[in-house]
C-alpha cells in the first residue's frame, strides 16, 4: 500500500464536471449491475430459449393443452403457440419474472449493506430512486419484448396457417400476427404495475426474500380470488385481470372494454405503489442506529 506516497487527487483538480442527468447515470449503472446477476441472466436465457423448447416439446407429443385458450390449435397453427404461452405467462410467468428483479432491486442494497456506499456519492435519493425504478421498468419491458420476439419466431417456425379465434372465426396469418402483437402489448401495463408493486414491497420490507415473495404470493391470491364469485368491480380491481384483457381482441366481434378498464386498474396500482415506495424511501434512515 502506498497511500502516503504522494498527494491524493484533490478537489481543485476536478477537470470534468458532472454533466449527465443523475437518473440516467443511475439507470445505466443499475442495468449493468442487473446483468451481473446470475438469476437475471437465467431469466433472459429462459425468455430466449423457452418458446423454442416449448415448441419442441409440443412436437414430441400428440396431446394438446386443451384447457387453455388456443391450446387445442397448437398443432394446426403456429400462431396458437405465442397465445398459449401468453395465457400461462399472464398467470404466472410474467408476474414472477418481474418480481424476481423488481422485488430485489432496492432490498439488495439493504442485503449487501451498500446504501451507505451509494448514498455518499453525490447522487440524491430522488435520482437513485428514479434510476432504479426506471431500470426495473426497463428490464420488465425488455423481457416482455424479448419474449414476444422469440414466441413469434417459434410460432412462425411451427407454421403460419390461419388460426381459429376465440369467437370461432378463422383468423388469417396477416391479421393473426397483428393480434398476437396486440395481445402481448396489452400485458405491458399490468407487467409495469406489477413491477411497481414489487418495488414497493422491496422498499418497505428491505428484504429480498419478502420483496420477491410477496408479489408471487399476491399472484396466487389473485388467482384464488378470481375463482370466487366476485362482483364485476371486484374483478376489475385485481391486478391479475388485465393480464386476460387480450381475450376480447380475439372474439367476434372484438371488444376492448376489459383492456380499457385494465389500463385504469394498472394506472391505479402503479401510482399507489410508486408513490408509497417513494414516500417510504425518501425519509428512510440508513444505518446509524445508536
Amino acid at each position: 500500500m502506498t497511500l502516503a506516497a504522494g498527494p491524493w487527487p484533490t478537489f481543485a483538480e476536478r477537470a470534468v464536471p458532472r454533466s449527465r442527468s443523475g437518473v440516467l447515470v443511475v439507470w445505466r449503472l443499475e442495468l449493468a449491475k442487473l446483468l451481473g446477476l446470475w438469476r437475471v441472466r437465467a431469466l433472459a436465457l429462459m425468455c430466449l430459449a423457452g418458446p423454442f423448447v416449448i415448441v419442441a416439446g409440443l412436437n414430441l407429443q400428440s396431446a394438446t393443452p386443451g384447457d387453455t385458450a388456443f391450446g387445442q390449435w397448437v398443432h394446426t397453427s403456429g400462431f396458437a403457440i405465442p397465445m398459449v404461452i401468453l395465457g400461462f405467462g399472464g398467470q404466472w410467468l410474467l408476474p414472477v419474472g418481474t418480481a424476481v428483479v423488481a422485488g430485489d432491486i432496492f432490498s439488495a442494497e439493504d442485503h449487501f449493506g451498500t446504501w451507505k456506499t451509494i448514498l455518499t456519492r453525490s447522487r440524491s435519493r430522488g435520482e437513485l430512486f428514479a434510476g432504479k425504478f426506471a431500470a426495473a421498468l426497463t428490464f420488465a419491458t425488455a423481457g416482455l419484448v424479448l419474449l414476444v420476439i422469440t414466441d413469434l419466431l417459434a410460432g412462425l417456425l411451427a407454421g403460419t396457417q390461419p388460426v381459429v379465434g376465440l369467437g370461432g372465426q378463422l383468423v388469417p396469418a396477416g391479421q393473426a400476427i397483428v393480434l398476437v402483437l396486440a395481445s402481448w402489448a396489452s400485458v405491458l401495463p399490468p407487467v409495469l404495475a406489477f413491477t411497481a408493486l414489487a418495488i414497493f414491497t422491496s422498499v418497505v420490507s428491505r428484504n429480498s426474500v419478502i420483496g420477491i415473495g410477496i408479489p408471487v404470493v399476491l399472484t396466487l391470491v389473485f388467482q384464488v380470488v378470481t375463482l370466487i364469485a366476485l362482483p364485476a368491480w371486484g374483478q376489475q380491481v385485481l391486478l391479475s385481470t388485465p393480464f386476460q384483457a387480450w381475450h376480447g381482441f380475439w372474439e367476434q366481434p372484438a371488444f376492448v372494454g376489459p383492456f380499457c378498464w385494465g389500463l385504469v386498474t394498472c394506472a391505479a396500482w402503479f401510482g399507489i405503489c410508486s408513490a408509497g415506495a417513494w414516500l417510504v424511501f425518501r425519509r428512510r434512515t440508513i444505518g446509524g442506529a445508536a
Partner: protein, 323 residues
C-alpha cells in the same frame, strides 16, 4: 472556490431512535486542514454523527453545515468534495473490486473513472482488482473503501474506524497518508475508539459519551487536562512498595487483580518513586505504561470501565473539569 474557515459545523444536533437518544445536542466544529478525531466507546453516537454528516440520517433537531452550507442550501451538491465511509465499507460482492469502483465512479461522474487504476495501485489492491469482492478480507475492503474515497478528490474525508482489519504496515501507511492529506489542506474526520491512534495523528478531538459531547478541543489542550498516566509495576515486595507510595507526593499505588501494582503518577514523580523503592531495598522487576494520560482522561470522560484493579476515578491524583 475559496476554502471556508469552518468545514464542518454541527450545532445542537439531536437524534432519537425510538426511546433511545443517539445524539443529544451535539456541537462539533472542524476547521480546514486538520485531522479531527471523533472518540467514544461503542454506542456513544460516533457513527450516528458521521451518518448525519453524510446525510444518511436526518437529525431531529439542530443544524449541520458542510463548507458553510446547510443541506437545503447546497442541494444535490451537498456531498461534493466529501468522501469516506461509515462503519465497514460495503460493496457488491458479486462484482470485482475494479467493477465496484467503476460503478461508484459512474455515480460520481466527471473524470472519476480515470482515477481507478491509481486508487487501486495506491491502496495495494492492483493485483486484487479483478477478484470478486466476496473473496476480500476485512482489511482489503477497508482499503477498497479508501480507494473509493480517493475517486472523489475529497476536501473532507470522513473515516469510521479505517484501520480495522488492516495489517501494521497498512495502519502505519494510513496514518502517514492522513497527516499528509491534512498538510495538503484536506480536512479529515476520523472516528475511533483507539486513543493511541488518535494521539498519534489527530490535531483536535471531540469525545462523545452516551450521545453527548464530553470534550471538544485541541489535543494539546486535552493533554494539559489529562490525569496522570497509569503504570503496571512488579516488585520483589508489592506490599512494601504500596506502603512506600503513601509517602510519595503525586503517586498512588494499589494492588492489581492479576498481581503487581497499578501506579498513577506523572513521569517525574514515578522516577522519584522508583529510585526510593531501590533505596529501600524493594527491587523493581517490571515497569510498563498501562494507560497514557489521554487514555486515562478518555476513560474518565466516558465513564468507561477501566482495566481491573485500577484506582477509581475519584481517587485519581489529578482530575480536572474539561467541559
Amino acid at each position: 472556490m475559496a476554502e471556508p474557515r469552518v468545514i464542518v459545523e454541527a450545532r445542537g444536533v439531536t437524534k432519537w431512535f425510538g426511546a433511545t437518544t443517539a445524539l443529544d445536542a451535539v456541537d462539533c466544529v472542524v476547521g480546514p486542514g486538520v485531522v479531527h478525531g471523533l472518540l467514544g466507546p461503542n454506542g456513544a453516537g460516533k457513527t450516528t454523527l458521521l451518518s448525519a454528516l453524510f446525510g444518511l440520517i436526518l437529525p431531529d433537531e439542530g443544524t449541520l453545515r458542510l463548507f458553510g452550507r446547510s443541506r437545503g442550501e447546497a442541494g444535490p451538491s451537498w456531498l461534493d468534495g466529501v468522501a469516506g465511509f461509515v462503519e465497514t465499507p460495503r460493496f457488491y460482492p458479486y462484482l470485482t473490486g475494479r467493477r465496484n469502483l467503476a460503478v461508484l465512479a459512474g455515480l460520481d461522474g466527471g473524470d472519476a473513472a480515470e482515477l481507478i487504476d491509481e486508487a487501486l495501485e495506491r491502496t495495494g489492491l492492483a493485483g486484487a482488482g479483478r477478484r470478486k469482492v466476496r473473496g476480500y478480507s476485512l482489511g482489503m475492503r477497508q482499503r477498497l473503501g479508501l480507494a473509493a474515497a480517493m475517486l472523489r478528490r475529497p476536501r473532507l474525508l470522513i473515516l469510521d474506524e479505517p484501520a480495522n482489519g488492516m495489517d501494521p504496515a497498512g495502519i502505519r501507511d494510513l496514518r502517514t497518508a492522513l497527516r499528509r492529506l491534512a498538510r495538503d489542506g484536506v480536512t479529515v474526520i476520523l472516528s475511533s475508539h483507539d486513543m493511541a491512534q488518535v494521539e498519534e495523528i489527530c490535531d483536535s478531538v471531540t469525545v462523545l459519551s452516551r450521545g453527548q459531547v464530553a470534550f471538544a478541543g485541541r489535543l494539546d489542550v486535552m493533554r494539559t487536562d489529562a490525569p496522570d498516566a497509569v503504570w503496571r509495576l512488579r516488585t520483589s515486595d508489592d506490599a512494601a512498595a504500596a506502603e512506600l507510595s503513601r509517602s510519595c507526593a503525586g503517586v498512588k499505588a494499589a494492588s492489581h487483580d492479576d498481581g503487581g501494582l497499578v501506579v498513577h503518577a506523572a513521569q517525574d514523580r514515578l522516577d522519584d518513586y522508583v529510585l526510593r523503592l531501590g533505596r529501600d531495598g524493594v527491587a523493581v522487576r517490571g515497569l510498563e505504561l498501562d494507560t497514557t494520560p489521554l487514555e486515562a482522561l478518555f476513560f474518565q470522560l466516558t465513564g468507561e470501565p477501566r482495566p481491573g484493579g485500577q484506582l477509581p476515578v475519584s481517587q485519581l491524583p489529578r482530575t480536572k473539569e474539561v467541559r
